[in-house]
């Protein structure tokens, strides 16, 4: 698949270390997505809660 991207290295990158990186990056990307999702929900809830007192005041 991506063998072409693997240049000969003078240090041993370790097969396990190479394989796990995809998983790590996918996990980080998923965490960022989940974080963004929850911050959107949090933002929406906060804006609703903040709006109510103003509307009451009006």
């Amino acid at each position: 698949m991506l063998l072409g991207l693997l240049k000969p290295a003078y240090i041993d990158p370790g097969t396990g270390s190479l394989l796990i990186q995809g998983l790590v990056a996918a996990f980080v990307a998923a965490s960022v997505a989940v974080g963004a999702f929850f911050s959107k929900i949090k933002g929406a809830v906060t804006s609703i809660l903040n709006r109510k007192p103003n509307e009451d005041a009006n």
């Binding site: 698949m1 693997l6 240049k7 290295a9 370790g14 270390s17 394989l19 790590v24 990056a25 980080v28």
Partner: protein, 454 residues
Amino acid sequence: MSDRHRSSFRDPSGYLFSQEGTLYRAVSDCYRPHYDLLHLSGLYDELTSSGLLIPHEEETRVRPRGADDPYKVLRPELVEFISYPYEWSFSQLKDAALATLAIQRRALKRGMTLKDASAYNIQFHRGSAVLIDTLSFEAYEAGAPWIAYRQFCQHFVAPLALMAYRDVRLSGLMRLHIDGIPLDLATEILPRKTLMRPSLAIHLHLHAWAQKRYASSTQASRPRKVNLEALTSSLEGLVRRLTWKPAGTEWADYYDFTNYDEAAFSDKRTEIEAFVDTVKPASVWDLGGNTGLFSRITSDRGIPTVSFDIDPAAVEKNYLETKRLHERMLLPLVQDLTNPSPALGWALSERESLLQRGPVDLALFLAMIHHMAIGNNVPIDRVAEFLSNCCRYLAIEWVPKGDSQVERMLSSREDVFNEYDQSSFERAFGRLFTIQKKRDIPGTNRTLYLMKTK
């Protein structure tokens, strides 16, 4: 005959050599495209201007002897004192890790990546962690994995996690394992609660499992496409969250419990200042420098000073203070003088011993003699011999048996130190040194000496 450094042999991209006392780096022909890209991409300028990479001049007239003509010869700016990760405090190793990741992040933005992530490639230069290996970069192809990921985890993540979660003294494992702490060993020692930390669970525990699982795999690996920016961010977050606070150790609070009163302390300081002004040293080692109070006499005068201490808490405090004050001339390091850093690595030539990195112009050996002679049973003449190999000038403080510190040391053991008296001390040191000044410290029973090696 080749003038190549014996420690410089792993990377075919180039090597270090010396001529007439000047250090050079040869760039091999095979590294030409990467070296050119380092400059053309603007990465070299960006990293050197931000103090993350050691700057160099290209030399056209110097060529290594006994070797093929290289593509380039570089003359890098010199680092005053080469130190090793097993001599760093927690925050020094953490700052070295963060510097490595900051470099990787900037490299990725300019189409390059670090092809190695050795902690030994980072040095403390004028108060900052800086990459000294200019040949650590290569062209980056989007989606390729990080070749140096294993090395980064072994050199930085494993020791930092062990120091933060188990015991700060475990950095000593770096002295035993020259290519970083094996991940399976780190995960054996780390407490189980680290499995609950997602980043440590992945970068250490799962990583160690994957190494073991695929260790005997003979098939060519087929890694997935990797988002290296995400990987770098994850490692940065992990390293930033690792913390260690020095507390409750014997020496970090030393100055609060000495038997000096304020006036005596001030007199001692004045005498040492006078010694320094007499010698005018180009470089100084403070052996047993604690949190660096006396080391700052010389570093504040602009003299490169290394402040060694056995206590990682004292060294941590000292390092954090150098950062707070933006001190460029003081380098605190962990060093056990009863068992100093040895020569290490292949043919004992990859890492230099403490003595190989000397001798220094002036060594301070203040309130230390009793720790060597009584605390570690070293005969005084052998202390003199070691110190004569360390320095050209020596500022040393004699601490007699009547001193409360010595009495405390002898309170729980038999006094077998019949030779521990001032005349024996002067006789032993007089064989290797000329005593140039001798000053009693008023209000104490201690004496300061300035000596010059014979």
